[in-house]
Symmetry: C2
Subunit: 581 residues, 2 copies
C-alpha cells in the first residue's frame, strides 16, 4: 500500500480497505507494511509526543474498527510508531520511540514487536529515533506459530531470523519499508529465500509502495520458501492484495509466556490466538508478476516518485523550461506520464545564444506529448539587467539562466498550486554544471539521480515502448542525438568543460558510488589528470548540490540523504596521490 508520512487517518482508511478485500478473500492472516500507519520515514515527527500518541491511538482504533466491521477474527500485523514505557530518548526528556508491529485480533492489540536491528546508514537514521527491541514475538494463528520481524531484521545475520528458527516458527512474517534502488529486487529475492532457509519456514515479505520525498518504495512483496523458491511475487510500484494459501507446519512448542532467552540474544514472547482450524475448501493459485526490465523499472520509479510528490503535497500542475535538450525533454515526458499532459506547462525561453533547433525541438516535444507550451524570450529582460550591471563571463551566462528561473517561478506562483521542475541530471549535479537560482530552480528534480548516459538510454527506451504500444514516440529524435549544450554563450558545448559523458559517468560511479581513491581510479585505467579534474569538480560542488531540489533516488548513493558531506571541507582527494606544486 501507498502511505503518506504523517497522514495517519488517511493511511488507516486505506489500510482498512485492504483488510476488507483480504477478508472477502477468506484471509486468516493479513500483513501490512512497516510503519504503514504513519508512513515511512517519519523523521523528527517520531520525537513529537502528540504524533506518537496519535499513532498508538490509531493502532488501537484500527483493531476496534476491524471488529466493528465483522473482521474481528482476522489477524492483522500492522506497522506503526509506538514508545517505550520507561526508557528516555537519548538527549531528550521524552520516552524513546519504537518502530513496531502490532498484532490485532478481536478488536484488540494482542501482541507487539519492536524492530531489533536498526539501520543507520545510507538513507536510514533509525538510531536517531528508535530504541531497539529485544523480544521476538511469536503468535499462534490457527495452530501455526507465526514469528514477526521488521525490515532490517532480515538484512543482518542472527537476531530475529535465528530466534524464529529456535522458536520453531511455522511462518516468518516480515513487514518492510524498503526503498527502491536499481537492481535491489534481485538482492531482495535472494535474501528472502536465504533467510527462509535459515528460519526453517516460509517467509512472507510485504513492502510499501509509493514516493516519499526522495525515496520511492517499490513493493515487490513475496513469499519465499526454504527450498530456495519464490512461491508468490507481487507487482513493482503498484498497490495490490496478494493472497496465498500456505500449508504450514503445526506448532509443537509450548506456550509458556515467560520469555526464554535464545542464542540470538532475543527473548521469545508467545501469544495464543487460535488453534488449528479447517483447511480452505479450495486453494488459491499464487500469482507471480512479470518483473519489469531494467529501464522500465527505473522509468516507472521516476514517474511514481514525481506523481506522489505532487499528489501528496497538493500540487496540481508543473512548470518547466523546455530547451529542446534531452534533459528537459525527458523530464517533460516523465511529467506527462505522471500527471497527464494537461497538467504540464513547458516554457521555451530563447535567448541570444539559443539555436534554431532548441526552439523547434521544444515545440515538437509539446506537439508529440500534448503538454501546454508557451514562449517567453529572455533577451529584453536580460538587457534590462545589463543596462544597470556590467557583467561578462560566467556572471553573464548565469544571468540568462536566472532570468529563466524567475520566469518559471512567476508563472508557477501566478497559476498555482504548482511547482517548477528542475531538469538537472546526476552527472551535471556531480560536477556542479548548473546555475544556482537558474536551471536549479524548482520544487522537485525528477532526474536528479539519473546519470546523463542513462538519460539517453531511458529516452530511447521510452520511445521504443511507445512504438511497442502502438503510440507515437514522445521524444524528438534530434533531442536524443544532438550534442549537449547549455547555449549560454556562442557555440558552447558541454565537452568544452567536461569529458564525454560516457567517461564522466564511469568515473563518477567509482568516485561517488564506490568511494574509490585517486590511485585506485588511476589503476582502473583512467588518465590521472582527468580523474583529478573530475574529483576536484565534485568536491567543489557540494554547496550547489545542497541547494538543489529533492528528486527520486534510483541509485545506491543518491545525492542528498545518501551522501552527506560538509560544505566547509578542506579534504581534497586529488592532491593526496600527487601533491600540487
Amino acid at each position: 500500500m501507498n502511505a503518506t508520512v504523517g497522514a495517519i487517518d488517511a493511511n488507516a482508511e486505506a489500510l482498512l480497505g485492504w483488510c476488507r478485500r483480504a477478508h472477502l478473500q477468506r484471509a486468516h492472516l493479513v500483513l501490512l507494511p512497516e510503519m504503514a500507519l504513519t508512513g515511512y520515514p517519519v523523521e523528527d515527527l517520531a520525537l513529537r509526543q502528540t504524533f506518537v500518541t496519535a499513532s498508538v491511538t490509531a493502532a488501537h482504533a484500527f483493531a476496534r474498527r476491524l471488529a466493528d466491521e465483522g473482521m474481528g477474527e482476522l489477524v492483522v500485523v500492522l506497522g506503526y510508531l509506538d514508545r517505550t514505557a520507561d526508557a528516555l530518548a537519548p538527549g531528550r526528556h521524552t520516552p524513546a520511540p519504537q518502530n513496531k508491529a502490532a498484532v490485532l485480533h478481536h478488536g484488540k492489540v494482542v501482541g507487539s514487536y519492536a524492530k531489533h536491528f536498526l539501520p543507520n546508514y545510507g538513507v536510514f537514521d533509525e538510531f536517531r529515533y528508535f530504541l531497539p527491541g529485544t523480544d521476538l514475538l511469536v503468535v499462534r494463528v490457527r495452530g501455526v506459530d507465526v514469528a514477526v520481524a521488521i525490515c532490517e531484521d532480515l538484512w543482518r545475520e542472527g537476531g530475529p531470523v535465528s530466534a524464529a528458527a529456535q522458536a520453531q516458527a511455522g511462518l516468518l512474517a516480515v513487514i518492510n519499508a524498503s526503498p527502491y534502488e536499481a537492481n535491489k529486487d534481485d538482492v531482495r529475492g535472494e535474501l528472502a529465500t536465504r533467510r527462509s532457509r535459515e528460519a526453517g519456514c516460509p517467509l512472507a515479505y510485504v513492502n510499501l509502495v509509493g514516493g516519499q520525498d526522495e525515496l520511492v518504495f517499490d513493493g515487490d512483496s513475496m513469499i519465499a520458501q526454504p527450498d530456495g523458491t519464490i512461491l508468490l511475487r507481487g507487482p513493482q510500484f503498484v498497490e495490490d492484495l496478494l493472497v496465498a494459501d500456505l500449508d504450514l507446519a503445526a506448532a509443537t512448542a509450548g506456550l509458556e509466556s515467560v520469555p526464554t532467552p535464545g542464542a540470538s540474544g532475543l527473548s521469545v514472547s508467545r501469544v495464543m490466538i487460535s488453534e488449528a482450524g479447517e483447511p480452505p475448501a479450495e486453494q488459491i493459485e499464487p500469482v507471480k508478476y512479470h518483473k519489469l526490465d531494467d529501464h522500465e523499472e527505473i522509468y516507472t520509479a521516476l514517474v511514481l516518485g514525481l506523481r506522489d510528490y505532487c499528489r501528496k503535497n497538493g500540487i496540481a500542475d508543473v512548470w518547466l523550461g523546455v530547451s529542446g535538450g534531452i534533459d528537459s525533454t525527458l523530464v517533460a515526458t516523465i511529467a506527462a506520464d505522471a500527471l497527464g499532459a494537461e497538467h504540464v506547462f513547458g516554457i521555451s525561453n530563447p535567448g541570444v545564444h539559443s539555436s534554431e533547433h532548441s526552439k523547434s525541438d521544444a515545440a515538437d516535444l509539446a506537439s508529440r506529448t500534448g503538454i501546454n507550451f508557451s514562449t517567453v524570450p529572455i533577451a529584453p529582460i536580460v538587457a534590462a539587467f545589463e543596462d544597470q550591471l556590467d557583467l561578462d563571463g560566467v556572471a553573464a551566462e548565469n544571468l540568462q539562466a536566472r532570468v529563466r528561473g524567475v520566469i518559471w517561478m512567476a508563472q508557477s506562483n501566478q497559476h498555482g498550486p504548482s511547482i517548477v521542475l528542475a531538469n538537472g541530471n546526476k552527472s551535471e549535479l556531480a560536477v556542479g554544471y548548473s546555475t544556482i537560482y537558474g536551471d536549479a530552480v524548482g520544487g522537485f528534480a525528477p532526474i536528479k539521480d539519473v546519470p546523463k548516459t542513462q538519460v539517453w538510454a531511458l529516452s530511447r527506451w521510452r520511445n521504443a515502448e511507445a512504438v511497442r504500444r502502438g503510440e507515437a514516440p514522445p521524444i524528438p529524435e534530434s533531442s536524443i542525438t544532438k550534442e549537449p549544450s547549455a547555449e549560454l554563450r556562442p557555440g558552447q558545448k558541454d565537452t568544452d568543460s567536461l569529458p564525454s559523458y560516457e567517461v564522466l559517468d564511469a568515473i563518477l560511479v567509482d568516485y561517488v558510488e564506490s568511494d574509490l581513491g585517486m590511485d585506485e581510479m588511476v589503476e582502473r585505467g583512467y588518465d590521472r589528470e582527468l580523474v583529478r579534474k573530475v574529483v576536484r569538480l565534485v568536491d567543489a560542488a557540494e554547496y550547489k548540490r545542497r541547494q538543489y531540489p529533492p528528486g527520486t533516488k534510483i541509485s545506491f548513493k543518491a545525492f542528498g540523504r545518501d551522501r552527506r558531506l560538509p560544505i566547509t571541507n578542506g579534504w581534497r582527494e586529488a592532491p593526496l596521490a600527487e601533491p600540487d606544486t
Copy 2:
C-alpha cells in the same frame, strides 16, 4: 584550536604550533580537542578509506614530528579518526571508522582510546559513522594515572567516568568537539564538576573553537575539581593555550596490561609512560577568563560563524541587500565585524513600494560602518518581466524579491570570490515569510537561527557596546525602532500576516524548540486560533527552510541539522485538537 574539517595537513601544522608553545611552558601532558586532526564533524568523509588512512598516517607522523623537534618527552593526547582492525561498517564492506584519542610519546602512538558513548541526536549522527569503543585507556604519566575520555562519554551516566573511578585515575582527560548553543557553558561547567566528583579526581576538559558550516565551537575549556570548583577556565570563541600545574594523586594500582572488566561495562587498558618526577620549581597561576554576557556571547558566535565560513571556503567578500530594515542592518554589521567593512558590499535596491527611509537608513548604515554601498533600482527590470508576464498578488511581490536576488548574485559572480548573504531571521524562516530565490538567495545566512525579538536585542547591544568602547553606534536608531515591512506592496506590514514578533517568538519556542502539542500550547495561555495559524505556517514552510542557506546555530534546535522533517508530510498538529469543519 580552530580546525577545518578535512584539512588534515593544515590542522596538524596548527596543532604542532600549540604543542611547541606548551613545550616552552614546560608542559608534561598536552590535551588537543576531539578529532582536532580531521576537524569535526567529518560526516561521510569518515566513510572514505583514503581519508581514514590520511588521518591515521598523520597521527603517526605527528608523533614523529614531536620527537624530531625535541618534544619526544611530551605526552600528547590527540583526537583523530581511525578504523577498527576487523569489524565492518554497517551496510558497507569497509572497516568501521572510530572516533579516537591517540596518546603520543617518544615518537610513537603508545595507546589509543575509542569513544564509548556515541551521540546520535540533535546535530550528531555518530552511529552513522563510528563503532563504539569498549576499553578505557589509562596512561601513567609521571606516576599519575590519566584516564582518557571523549565528549559524549562525559554527558552520560556510568561508562568511562565510572570506569575511571574504578581504575583510581588521578586525572580524567576529556577531549571534546562540543558545539555552541546559548547558555550551554552553564550546563557544561556544572557537568564537569559533577563528573569530576564521580571520577574522584580533577577533570581537564578541552574543546574546539571555530565555525564549521552551521556549527560553531566555543572553546570554554576548563579544569574542574571534585570539590565542585573550577580551577581554570579558558576563553570563549578564541584559541588559547591554557596551562596549569596540578598536584595529582600518585598511582597505586597495578600495571597489569590484561584488561579487567569493571561494573561500567568497560575493560581497562593501562600503559606505562613515565614514573613520578620532580615537581616544577614554580607553580603557574591558573587563569580564569571573564565569561561573556548573554548578548555578547551570541553576537560573538555569529561573527565567528560567518568569519570562519568565509575564510575556510576561500571567500573574500560578501554582498547583501540593505533595505534599511533591522535584519539586513544587523547582518551588515556582523559582516563588517567578521570580515572588515572593506569586504562588505551593500546594495540598495529600491522598488516602487520602497519607503524613503529604506533608502536613507541603508545609506546611513553604510556611512556608519564604512561598508561599500551602491544602488540598483529594480523598477525598470521588474517592468521588463511584467511586459511579458501577467502577474499580480504574491507572484508580483515575489518577482520584486527575485529581481533583487538576481542582482546580488550577478554582482557576487562578477566580482568574486564572494558570496551573497541572506538576511532572514529565525522567526521568518519558521513561518515561511520569505521568497525562495528572492531574499532567500545566498551562500550563508548569518542570523538564520536568531529570532526577530533577539535581532532587535542584539542590535541594541551592539550599539551599546560601541558606546562602551567609545565608538559611534553602527546601527541607525530608526532601523531598530521602525515597524517591520517587506515593502513589496503599498503600505505592507509584517503584522498584516503575522502576530507581533513578541507573541510569535514565544509560540515558536514552545512549538519548535520544545515540541509542544496544540493543547499544551493553549494551556499555556495562547489563543487557540492564533496557535493553530502559527503551527500551520510552520508545518507548511519545510520546503522553503530546506532551500535556505546554512547559518550559525545558536539555539537548542536550529533549523537544518537539528530538526529534520519530511517535505511530504500529512501530519498537521493543528487539526488534532480541534478538527476542521
